[in-house]
């Protein structure tokens, strides 16, 4: 690489450019790219997190791949991903379209809507944990039977709560993305549609939705890859429980690595996470069929 930059320097006066990118590159390589390679390497070792690291071949992989916990964690991860995508996307598109318009109460709503965006997952998880307490939470306090369930104590309820809280936290952010997307749609399209007599609903399905294609892909990519990293929220809210009902891959990695001191198998889980993320992102890119994006990814 250095010989290449040397050549460039002699040929063009823009030789300073690679140097401008160097600080970012150094930190990024040091704390993202090398770890990325490192996690592959570590998955072939045995390490307790403190002592020496021993190369142990496929031991960790064998342990992970034969563990019935893995398909379960993968399943939970995909379920959280898919269900929260299904819940969030329609709401976000609706809210985004609404916020992009000139509704009367928009300003007022806008102040409150985005507060969840500011809160840490730990804070949100703690608040919900107290709020949903079967004995002293909201439902019990209001004496409403339906609300005073053991929300975090039953597998399916706990799963539902995780999806709900995740949506509560991220819908504001994604509605904002959709709001921006809607605002970029040329107004002439709507004017033309109105002249043709298309109603609001028709306009939404024939103009807004198709025009939002790239926005939907951007938002979905962030949502889907982001959902692989749900760790703090679930860690504080349920710790993966009850049983293993909400034990997603990222949590599985943490528990194996930092709680059970099995860094080898934990690294194998991390590799799986990386591969799943990469596969999903590439799939969504393909779906988008955007030239610029495709060529940019080829560089990687």
């Amino acid at each position: 690489m250095s010989s290449l930059t040397d050549q460039r320097r002699r040929r063009t006066p823009r030789s300073i450019l690679p140097w401008l990118a160097t600080p970012a590159l150094v930190i990024y390589v040091g704390f993202a790219v090398i770890p990325l390679v490192g996690v592959f390497a570590l998955s072939f070792t045995t390490w307790d997190g403190i002592g020496a690291i021993h190369v142990s071949g496929l031991t960790s992989w064998r342990a992970v791949l034969t563990d019935p916990g893995l398909p379960h964690a993968l399943g939970v991860t995909f379920m959280v991903m898919v269900v929260s995508w299904l819940v969030q996307t329609p709401v976000c598109i609706l809210l985004g379209t609404f916020m992009a318009g000139r509704q009367r109460y928009r300003a007022l709503l806008g102040v409150v809507y985005f507060v969840p965006l500011m809160l840490s997952s730990a804070a949100i998880a703690l608040a919900y944990k107290a709020l949903l307490d079967p004995n002293f939470g909201l439902g019990a306090g209001l004496k409403i039977q339906v609300l005073s369930q053991d929300w975090l104590g039953r597998p399916w309820l706990a799963f539902g709560v995780v999806v709900f809280v995740v949506s509560w936290q991220f819908i504001p952010f994604h509605s904002l993305i959709y709001q921006g997307g809607v605002q970029q749609i040329p107004k002439s399209l709507y004017e033309a549609a109105q002249l043709d007599g298309a109603g609001r609903i028709r306009q939404f399905f024939s103009i807004t939705l198709p025009q939002l294609k790239y926005t939907i892909i951007t938002s979905s990519t962030l949502m889907v890859v982001g959902s692989l990293t749900f760790f703090d929220l679930i860690f504080v809210l349920t710790e993966g429980g009850p049983g293993d009902a909400t034990r997603v891959l990222a949590l599985d990695m943490y528990k194996r690595g930092f709680q059970a001191s099995l860094m080898g198998p934990a690294s194998a889980i991390a590799v799986i996470l990386v591969l799943v993320g990469l596969a999903l992102a590439l799939m969504l890119r393909r779906l988008g069929g955007r030239d610029a994006g495709a060529s940019q990814l080829e560089g990687a």
Binding site: L4, Q103, L138, V274
Partner: protein
């Protein structure tokens, strides 16, 4: 897209005078479905926040007996006192140090890299680098925490604030470079050319031309990274150990372990750790929201 540009280009007056003449959005009537969803969502957002706030002022013995949605008749600050006495200020300072220490270099380096990528797009090196940065968007970087932990130990930085700062910068780079390079790309080529004709170096062009013109994007990226790092939980959890290195989210979690039964105290801690960002939100709301809509929707 265009607004950021026209807003910052030189002939501002004419641009602004033209604006009111633009046709209003008359083409869109009222959006009933969106409106209904909007109000419903408001309730979903507000009720937990409201409950958290009023509960934080309830005395513990009153908490169990009172209606959860009615504010208490005799509010108390005892819960807040308890939290502040539990070393809250130290955690606050730690969070400020980590956030500032990571955001400033992250944005600065990302901006320089984004500029280099846009201006050097013809060089294969730059495009490869761009691809490398973009890769960070496709893979969950949290999956790399085990090697990060190892590197931090090897650098003998474990249990220090610097241990949190360095990976935070790295994790912030992909999205920052993407958003910033999108904005720098919008700066008209002629402006760069005229700077070069005037004999300006890339370094001067970077600071005198690109930086002022993309200031809204820089601010957006700064706020977004600050929020992410301020709220970070995983890195403090695995890279620090001593109580006096905790940042706010981690302190909150350990606090819950200590005062688990005392719900009002726990939610008071939630309110206290949230307060700093909410104050900033009150001031920077417009910039944050408009920046995020513009930055992510391309």
């Amino acid at each position: 897209m265009t607004t950021t540009l026209t807003g910052s280009r030189r002939p501002q007056k004419t641009v602004q005078r033209e604006r009111p003449r633009h046709p209003r959005r008359t083409a869109r009537g009222r959006n009933w479905a969106g409106g209904l969803a909007g109000w419903l969502w408001l309730g979903v957002v507000v009720i937990p926040l409201y409950w958290t706030l009023i509960t934080s002022f309830k005395a513990q013995n009153r908490y169990y007996a009172s209606n959860p949605l009615v504010p208490t008749g005799d509010p108390t600050l005892d819960n807040y006192r308890l939290v502040i006495e539990a070393d809250f200020l130290r955690y606050l300072v730690n969070s400020v140090v980590v956030t500032a220490g990571a955001v400033v270099p992250a944005v600065l380096f990302s901006f320089m890299a984004a500029y280099a990528i846009v201006r050097g797009w013809r060089m294969p090196v730059m495009r490869a680098m761009n691809g490398l940065f973009l890769m960070g968007l496709a893979i969950p970087l949290q999956a790399t925490v085990i090697p990060v932990y190892l590197i931090i130990i090897k650098l003998q930085l474990y249990d220090s604030l610097l241990a949190l700062i360095l990976p935070s910068i790295a994790f912030a780079i992909p999205l920052s470079v993407l958003v910033l390079s999108n904005f720098i790309r919008d700066v008209p080529k002629e402006l760069f050319d005229s700077m070069r004709v005037d004999g300006a170096t890339e370094w001067t062009t970077l600071w005198r031309l690109a930086a002022p013109l993309t200031r809204p994007a820089i601010l957006t990226v700064t706020i977004f990274n600050a929020l992410t790092i301020w709220n970070g939980f995983l890195l403090p959890l695995i890279l620090t150990q001593s109580p006096d290195r905790r940042t706010l989210p981690l302190a909150l979690w350990t606090f819950q372990g200590q005062y688990g039964v005392n719900v009002p105290a726990v939610v008071a801690a939630v309110v206290l750790t949230t307060l700093p960002v909410l104050v900033l939100y009150a001031f920077g709301r417009r910039q944050l929201l408009s920046g995020l809509t513009a930055g992510f929707s391309r």
